[in-house]
Symmetry: C4
Subunit: 168 residues, 4 copies
């Protein structure tokens, strides 16, 4: 897809939906004797959340996992639309768009693995981290230069801020 | 080994045996004042376990270490055949194959260091992460593009799913 | 900027101001069920703090975050001038320079993201880690070879020690 | 230094002295609200300790830091000669050699930073991780292909096992 086509798609985007593991994190999950213990987030992605919110974009976070520690990160990032334990991301996002009076063509999606495909395919702008699962990389409009948990989210956020309807 | 030879070997594979440290993890072990504290796993490898199981493959996890935290990860991944503290991986795997009525030629093996060699050599398909110990890389049928703890397991899983007898 | 211009700027530098996240760390923040749990620092950067102090340089650490764990690291590094929760880094640094009887042209600044820009621009020598946000990389006098949390701080420290007014 | 010169030096080596941070670890130190919390070691380096010991080599670990968590790792690795809090590594190593009836020319040294220089320079074989501080890289007989905490130790161990007086 040419840069111009990408910019044209971004002109309509008013919200960003993102997965957690492999997108906001590097896909790593640290186990201790008590089980899942830590996940690694990225401070510059956090600034992306702040900048999108300040500009007027909505951000929705959807994940198949349900992890207390991700709740804590979402609180820190002031994320209002957080859906853990989402087994059917597609239906969930259809409903969310209806509630928010958004058309899926106004929604960008950032995902990295096969369980993102059906939700991703209805969205107006599809992106993935540089290290996404290969099947995803062939489906998206935009493959980030940055990998998951190391700036992929911020990269999409800055693209939206530079070319979308809301600017800082 | 040519791609065709690899595909032909995979046609017979019905189970995957894997090491833990350096394969399901990046080989890192995090110590705190209380001793071994954390190991790092990879969420996309977890999806590989789920997809292999759904397709009908058996997965067996064999490691020389005996770490409570690995137990927790195995529980999360619903691994039925987990053998910690395995000092003689070869004999253990011979017995396991007999119990499961599998011929070693139907078993794939994913390992990264010298203590995997004897068990690995009897198996029908031998693979290692991209960052395996050099002696292992010269022995295997397939060197993954991905390193340990960053998708090597998923890569072998997807090869099996694409070319093996059981498919999703 | 030519190497000679860089050396000439360094001849006047008597103090170094640095951000924390993405500079002294790799930008990662590890969350556990209790919230923010860990950040990752670099032992060779620690030696940079020691060597700058021994040579007679002042180091000031300024960050928008306010994290107990960063306090602990600052204590270990014997940092006297530590300002957490700094929302307006520019004003804070203006005041600090006045107190220390330093002209901003005698101050080097090491930062990585947009909230460093205004403070950075008044300083006599501006540097960023190799993986800084792209907008910062275009503003600075010197882009480090090393990324944040992996030696960027040490690299600037050694430049100052080799070309500044105070030498070991 | 030519490969032959390296092999000739290794023929006399009967013991290996190593630093901890940046050599057995990647130089990272993870802080939590309680202070220093974790360091990251590498499982394949652990196998290097085992293989050197089995072959008859002595290993001595010397570090300027004094960290409870490093003690735990040394216990796991069955290290007998561990010297934490070593401010003068040179004198310490001179004494240790005398006690062990070793000539420094029979000792290999693996270090990564300026505080290793004086101790390193008396040793018969000097090596550093691929990511050592640049000043060290110019001093050593051998720069590892692997960085600290990711196999540098194992690499030197295998060199000794392949070319030294004791072999497995």
């Amino acid at each position: 897809m040419s840069q111009n086509q990408i910019f044209r798609k971004l002109e309509k985007i008013r919200a960003l939906a993102t997965d957690v593991d492999g997108v906001l994190t590097n896909g790593a999950v640290y186990y201790g004797p008590e089980g899942e213990r830590l996940k690694r987030f990225y401070i510059r992605d956090g600034m992306g959340f702040e900048r999108l919110r300040n500009a007027g974009y909505k951000v929705v976070v959807i994940t198949g996992e349900n992890s207390e520690l991700v709740h804590r990160r979402m609180e820190k990032l002031l994320v209002e639309h957080y859906f853990p334990g989402a087994k059917d991301k597609y239906s969930l996002l259809v409903n969310w768009c209806r509630e928010q009076r958004l058309d899926p063509s106004e929604l960008a999606y950032l995902g990295d693995d096969v369980n993102d495909i059906s939700a991703m395919q209805m969205c107006g702008f599809k992106a993935c981290p540089s290290d996404a699962f290969h099947q995803i990389r062939t489906l998206v409009d935009y493959v980030c230069h940055r990998p998951g948990g190391l700036g992929a989210f911020r990269e999409v956020a800055e693209l939206m801020l530079a070319h979308g309807p809301f600017r800082l």
